[in-house]
């Protein structure tokens, strides 16, 4: 039986340092079988949470990357036209023998129409990510990534899936989920998600972590980096975030930088080291100078 504190331990075993809100969200999502909608700036570990969860809970990860113009054919299911055609071709020879028992045309049509559902059966249904996660034998983790990239129509499409965990296929009827997957939606907030979708989810906002948590994250991932340097580094990056850059460095940048510093065997943070590795932190030409200036000011 999972409790809230075990979620935290589980996640930290998987290398993900969660705070109270994240652990509670995961726990509730598991208990209440509700999706979590995670918002936050890029690189704070929204997708990472899903990946780690799938590892530690041993739920197979089914990932749906959203993009503009995604539709049900890409997300839910599709009919396999090619296979259907192939079968028609193959069965054509069988047709004569099958219909030979009938005496007239009317009877033949009746006999055929009795088999009509044959071609719109699950045999010919291609499962796309959402349906696949619904029909998976084992409880799975459905990650709907960057939902804000998709359009309104796709959001509307998700409403049924997320509230009732079922997919309606007109030809087959309603297919309910065998195992309700643990569902995680992520959004970078480039577009407002509709209230209808928000209401169906638990809403989790992951911002930049506080100092202690970020240091713990760095230490957990790169234990070789000494505590003092890690702290110094995180403090510096937090100051950089205050700078109003075009792309402020996120947790993923922190980790990249920690990696770089480990590789370089850096022992102390100096303006020179920052200058030589600034490309890891700042991703815009206009930002580089600002970071360097700050380094000269803070670390001199």
């Amino acid at each position: 039986m999972i409790t809230e504190s075990t979620v935290k331990t589980l996640l930290s075993n998987g290398g993900y340092i969660a705070d109270e809100a994240i652990a509670t969200a995961v726990f509730l999502a598991l208990q209440m079988e509700k999706p979590i909608l995670i918002e936050g700036p890029p690189g704070v570990g929204k997708t990472g949470l899903a990946k780690t969860l799938s590892e530690v809970l041993d739920f197979p990860l089914v990932r749906l990357q959203c993009y503009e113009g995604i539709d049900e054919g890409k997300a839910l299911y599709d009919w396999e036209y090619g296979k259907q055609l192939l079968y028609t071709q193959l069965l054509r020879t069988q047709l004569d023998t099958y219909l030979s028992v009938t005496s007239d045309l009317r009877e033949a049509v009746e006999r055929l129409s009795a088999e009509e559902s044959l071609f719109f059966s699950r045999n010919f249904l291609v499962q796309r990510p959402i349906l696949r996660s619904f029909l998976s034998e084992k409880r799975s983790l459905l990650l709907i990534d960057e939902i804000d990239r998709s359009g309104d129509e796709f959001e509307a499409l998700l409403l049924e899936c997320l509230s009732d965990f079922q997919v309606s296929v007109p030809e087959l009827g309603v297919i309910p989920a065998l195992q309700k997957p643990l569902t995680i939606l992520t959004s970078n907030g480039t577009r407002m998600i509709s209230d209808a979708l928000r209401r169906r989810c638990l809403y989790l906002y992951i911002g930049y972590p506080d100092l202690e948590r970020e240091v713990t994250i760095v230490r957990a991932r790169y234990p070789d980096l000494c505590e003092i340097l890690a702290r110094k580094m995180v403090e510096f990056l937090r100051a950089v975030r205050e700078l109003n850059l075009r792309k402020p460095p996120s947790v993923s940048e922190t980790l990249d930088w920690a990696n770089v510093l480990t590789i370089l065997h850096a022992t102390a943070l100096t303006p020179e080291i920052v200058a030589s590795t600034v490309g890891v932190i700042a991703k815009h030409q206009a930002d580089l100078q600002q970071v360097n200036d700050l380094a000269a000011q803070m670390l001199a």
Partner: protein, 467 residues
């Protein structure tokens, strides 16, 4: 516990956070799963289930602190909170005062007893007693009690709770009166983003629909065959030729002279928030001279640009606006580089300071434009007074509108987009404009009356013809 949460939800709603009944049920369910042992857990549970928008998190935190603070037993007490207020109101209303005070002291009445013990502080009781003595000053103590106990109710709602439309227009007027202080505050920028965002959502759906409609062209034979190869060339899936879509082009002139500057600033901000998404905008600012600022707007943050304009680095702000010169210069220097048939928006009051009007230049510009819209911040009544050439210039435009605040501005621009997308093909614009012109010839007096409104024509275009 349900009641506590319901009350908390109610408090949140009063602060403008929208919480649906389903969400509060979720909250109750969630709390029952996790228990109430840890304050932080409860906080994150309620935040997870009740708040669905990052902007609302600060309000939630504040409300949570206020609601679940005083003491550990307060959770129970809040249930009786409304009763307390009610009884207090009764008290003030007069006659019941005595009996209430008696019941405060009555040990059998358990509910009131709790109130006396924990909810009502000594100070409040003193206030109550004061009230008994001095009935003339009814309002003071009672309101004070209410304020102490329920600040959320008494506070004026913070600006963020208003529908956003209100805020920019207020800002607009302030700026209009006080044009020394012109750069946008961060709030104004955010508000504008919101207005534009909402507008985009509205427009986008229709644009998409229109685009889909327009992109259905003739059958693309080759691609259809390719697509249906696996179906044995039976055309299950059709591929259609797409019409080449182009972004509508806009050319915007903004008067930055003192009289209209703030309005034009919002115009610039609006258009360039929209810039890369739906339209291709070229912007010019003018006073006596006209200068293109498209590139600067694209590369500089809006505020920086405004500062540059305010310093007079782009056009000299001490000059008086000279529309005739502006049109002439534009015709000479930029008209050749206008591609397609852009829609031209001119924003200004048309006050030419008795300079040469050069209406022929405007006429030539009009020839090159697909659509011409003039936005003036002045009322129609004042158009014929003084040096205003609105009536002259207006007769060249397809439409003249009075725009006084951001609401009206965004409405006009939105309508314009519909027009542009509806008739994206510039040739259809042309066709559409022709009948309008003929109509003008038949009945010039009705030209400035917008259909559906019964306003009197502001002026008679015949006047110009007789000169």
């Amino acid at each position: 516990m349900e009641r506590v949460i319901t009350r908390f939800v109610k408090a949140l709603r009063e602060r403008g956070v929208r919480v649906s009944p389903g969400e509060s049920m979720d909250a109750v369910h969630a709390v029952s799963l996790c228990g109430l042992s840890k304050r932080e857990t409860v906080r994150s549970i309620l935040r997870l289930t009740l708040v669905k928008n990052a902007n609302e998190i600060p309000v939630f935190e504040e409300e949570f602190e206020r609601f679940f603070t005083t003491s550990s037993s307060n959770v129970q007490m809040h249930q009786d909170f409304g009763d307390l207020i009610n009884s207090l109101i009764h008290v003030v209303e007069g006659s019941l005062f005595k009996s209430n005070v008696e019941s405060f002291q009555d040990p059998d009445d358990e509910k009131i007893n709790i109130l006396v013990d924990e909810e009502v502080t000594e100070e409040d009781l003193e206030n109550l007693l004061d009230m008994g003595e001095d009935n003339g000053d009814e309002e003071g103590p009672e309101i004070q009690v209410q304020l102490n106990r329920n600040p959320g109710k008494m506070e004026a709602p913070s600006p963020s709770e208003y529908r956003m439309e209100n805020v920019p227009s207020v800002a607009f007027y302030q700026g209009y009166n006080n044009s020394k202080n012109l750069a946008f505050t961060p709030e104004e920028l955010v508000d504008m983003q919101e207005v534009v965002g909402r507008m985009l959502v509205r427009i986008r759906k229709d644009i998409k629909r229109m685009k889909e409609k327009e992109s259905r062209g003739k059958l693309h034979v080759v691609r259809t065959l390719q697509k249906n190869y696996r179906h044995g060339m039976i055309p299950f899936l059709l591929a259609l030729r797409r019409k080449r879509m182009e972004k509508p082009r806009l050319v915007v002139f903004c008067d930055v002279s003192f009289s209209v500057s703030h309005a034009t600033r919002f115009m610039l901000l609006l258009l360039h928030t929209l810039q890369n998404r739906v339209v291709d905008v070229r912007s010019f600012v003018f006073n006596r001279d006209v200068v293109e600022i498209t590139d600067r707007l694209r590369n500089l943050p809006v505020n920086c640009l405004l500062e540059t304009i305010d310093r007079g680095d782009i056009v000299n702000l001490d000059d008086n606006s000279d529309y005739g010169n502006v049109f002439l210069t534009f015709k000479r220097e930029h008209l050749e580089s206008m591609r397609g048939k852009p829609a031209i928006i001119i924003m200004g009051d048309g006050r030419n300071n008795y300079n040469e009007d050069n209406e022929w230049a405007l006429e030539e510009i009009r020839e090159k434009a697909g659509y011409m819209l003039w936005l003036s911040p002045e009322d129609r009544e004042t158009w014929y007074r003084g040096d205003c050439l609105m009536e002259l210039y207006g007769s060249y435009c397809d439409r003249v509108e009075v725009v006084k605040n951001v609401d009206e501005l965004s409405k006009v621009v939105e309508e314009l987009f519909y027009t542009l997308y509806d008739h994206n093909d510039t040739r259809t614009w042309k066709n559409r404009i022709k009948p309008a012109r003929e109509e003008k010839n038949y009945d010039p007096a009705s030209y400035y009356i917008r259909p559906g409104s019964d306003a009197k024509p502001a002026f008679d275009p015949e006047v110009r013809r007789s000169w």
